[in-house]
């Protein structure tokens, strides 16, 4: 695997980790008996993401990293649907799609 591919893989991993961190924090509000555990799990996941993202930035351009970072919106939508049972209506899905396009557009100029 070359350096750029490794960087891209790290960014996708970061998006997945961020998705899971957000699910952990949402779970903290739904399971008060284990609130601190879920908050700590989310914070640890974010700490890991910061480290991996820093490594990713050494391998890919920031404009690519910036745009691909918005994949976390997709990860959050997917995990919140699968793990929490949130309803992703077509309107919410369309909105997410436009946000992704907008971020990609801005990232292209970064």
């Amino acid at each position: 695997m070359n350096r750029t591919a490794f960087g891209l893989l790290l960014i996708v991993t970061c998006a997945v980790i961020e998705g899971l961190a957000q699910i952990a924090w949402k779970t903290s509000s739904r399971k008060p008996e284990h609130k601190h555990f879920w908050i700590a799990a989310g914070a640890l996941a974010y700490g890991l993401e910061i480290i991996l993202y820093t490594f990713a930035l050494t391998a890919v351009d920031v404009s690519i990293a910036f745009a691909m970072g918005s994949l976390s919106f997709v990860a959050v939508a997917l995990f919140s649907r699968l793990l929490l049972g949130e309803r992703i209506s077509w309107l919410r899905g369309a909105g997410l799609g436009l946000i992704l396009c907008g971020v990609a557009f801005m990232g292209e100029q970064a």
Partner: protein, 143 residues
């Protein structure tokens, strides 16, 4: 992405004032973190890129990094409150508005260019957020 084909028949449910305030604060804090962090990073000397000890010393002697830490902590505290009232798949896309505010603030404060293409991206984000905002904010706890 899994989608729901049924109409979003609870979409007209009003937003709690606390949630609106939390989302606005989340965008403000995100903007603060990004712009202050960038400003702080600009104070680190170029030589620190190859000298971790110098980089660490620069960070410890720059009060703006302390401000970043405080802002991040406040951001997390506020975000946990937001998630008490809203779906994470609703709240997180709304905070994409911070892409706009960061671009505008960095244009004004850090003199970064706000190009027409970037404005186009902002417009897409704005429309996307408007669509998400029209959906029910809490599908897990219907009331």
């Amino acid at each position: 992405m899994a989608t729901e084909t049924q109409p979003d028949n609870r979409a007209k449910r009003g937003l709690p004032t606390r949630l609106v305030a939390g989302l606005v604060l989340a965008i403000i804090l995100d903007t603060g973190v990004q712009t202050v962090w960038k400003r702080a990073a600009q104070t680190i000397p170029d030589a620190a890129a190859h000298n971790p000890r110098l980089a660490l010393a620069s960070i410890l002697h720059q009060p703006l990094f302390l401000a970043v830490g405080v802002l991040i902590f406040a951001q997390m505290f506020n975000w946990l409150k937001v998630l008490d009232d809203a779906d994470v798949s609703y709240a997180l896309p709304i905070t994409a508005l911070s892409y706009l505010s960061v671009a505008l603030v960095s244009g004004l404060w850090l003199h970064e260019a706000v190009t027409p293409a970037r404005l186009g991206g902002m417009l897409l984000i704005l429309v996307g957020v408007a669509l998400v905002a029209r959906t029910d904010h809490n599908t897990l706890d219907p009331s």
